[in-house]
Symmetry: C2
Subunit: 265 residues, 2 copies
DNA sequence: CGACCTTTTGATAGTAGTCAAATGAAGTGG
DNA sequence: CCACTTCATTTGACTACTATCAAAAGGTCG
């Protein structure tokens, strides 16, 4: 119960093979797998830098508008100055999945750099402003402004780390906790941007949320009902798209409790 | 049955909300969500460029060696010149998950750029050579060699796209198909690097594979047995770590069949 | 050989998916 | 303004996939 490598067996299996354990035997226990999740550069500062360096073209989008389209030629990256967007991955066989949510300051279109065409659709979930950053112009500007390059790399790096965290949520959490974590994550994103977190408007249907989390719309609905029954969330009087979160910490606690119900020592 | 947006309902739910559908109504059907998955720059050429531009330090690793460690200060990226490695994401609460597999030419450590410390462990799965690319040196070299920067961005972009595909596999495929897709992906990675694909040596235990795919080791074992029973794979005489794949296309077909059993039109 | 893993396979349980029906919202046209 | 249509959501009943528990067999290494 003291070795984290083998203690976690609540859901699925422990990861570390014996071979790996003994191979890394020398340096006993990892010093501090602590991960800092804050941004080195605040979002507002990043946008300011981008704005003055590139004076990007602005585009107003409304709910449902496609910001970029899978399969079309890559030429620009997009930065959300306001609003919310979903990223939808499309497979050749017709499967599609929401693989990400984007908020103010987030970038879109990175997946097009390598292949020369966008790999995902990005769809606005409400009204917002998108900045169009032509990739060649960005690179040119980066040549004279190292800070810009740092910004770009930071954004890509954060995207990679974020995707992995999504992966972990989907793979290690039961359905109810996944929904709780989804809400917590959304609230956290708002908080980082200085917005209210006590009430959030989900701009996705249950089906979209389920698709994002790898579960059915019914399971999402049930999970939300259960969270509401436990008092962790509440619905606005009319319509169930607005979720009130009296205490974000409560959601985090729920995830932890659900994660390791018997891990209370 | 002709509208891909609503046709896919075999597993979980269709993604596209009605609102989104009508909002994007004007441009009828998407032109071609085709995604090109090949590399613009062959892997060998990329390594050659890296080598001559930076003459990176080389490090020989053996199975179980840690290439980089979550939580430690970020200073360098790593490129696999040979061997295989797994990327393990660590959560603050002790959960850990294999979130990626890396082969020759793949980069490691991108997640450290934004936060200043690595977010994942990277563990060698067999003997191999790792190139250490100091990040500051890389940036300096990029300033005079645009090709290097393109390489870097291409690698990060590919990582983002790849993570999303993993996410989609985990979320949209049933257990058996997930394992088949895992094998297919491994074979594809070998093929892109000019290696044999008819026989691959899984360098992970069933527990590790299961952790990666979001299922238990028993389910992985059962899935492999089923694939073997169907003749899609075969085991070497001794030990069940070597998997023979007579026809990679067969695995792809299995995934498709399992994906849409009733989608035969 | 014996200790220790890993893997396989079976039996059982539980979570989440599927099917179905009812309610709730929202928009349309008379 | 109100029927009427349409879609989103909720909830129940049932099913099925996959996790869990357990035992045995196969490998590996001292």
């Amino acid at each position: 119960m003291l070795n984290t490598a083998t203690a976690v067996t609540t859901r699925h299996q422990a990861v570390i093979s014996q071979a790996a354990l003994q191979a890394m035997g020398r340096d006993e226990r990892a010093p501090a797998p602590r991960r800092e999740r804050f941004d080195a550069v605040p979002i507002a500062a990043m946008l300011e830098t981008l704005n003055e360096a590139l004076q990007p073209q602005r585009r107003i989008v409304r709910a449902g508008d496609r910001i970029c389209q899978a399969g079309t030629d890559f030429g620009a990256l997009y930065v959300l100055n306001s609003g919310v967007a979903k990223v939808v991955n499309l497979a050749a066989d017709g499967r599609e999945q929401v693989v990400g949510l984007k908020f103010r300051g987030d970038w879109l279109g990175f997946d097009g750099i390598a292949t020369g065409c966008y790999g995902c659709d990005a769809i606005a979930l409400d009204t917002g402003e998108v900045w169009v950053i032509r990739y060649d112009a960005l690179l040119a500007a980066c040549a004279t402004r190292p800070a810009l390059l740092a910004l770009l790399h930071g954004a890509m790096s954060r995207e990679i780390a974020g995707d992995r965290d999504s992966m972990m949520s989907v793979c290690t959490l039961p359905a109810d906790a996944r929904v709780a974590e989804f809400l917590r994550h959304w609230a956290e994103a708002l908080e980082q941007r200085g917005m209210r977190t006590d009430q959030i408007t989900l701009r996705m249907t249950r089906a979209e949320i389920g698709n994002f989390l790898g579960m059915t719309l019914e399971s999402v609905s049930r999970a939300l009902s259960r969270l509401a029954r436990e008092g962790l969330i509440a619905f606005a009087e009319k319509g169930r798209r607005d979720v009130q979160i009296p205490d974000v910490g409560g959601l985090a606690g729920f995830v932890q409790r659900y994660l390791a119900p018997a891990m209370v020592q």
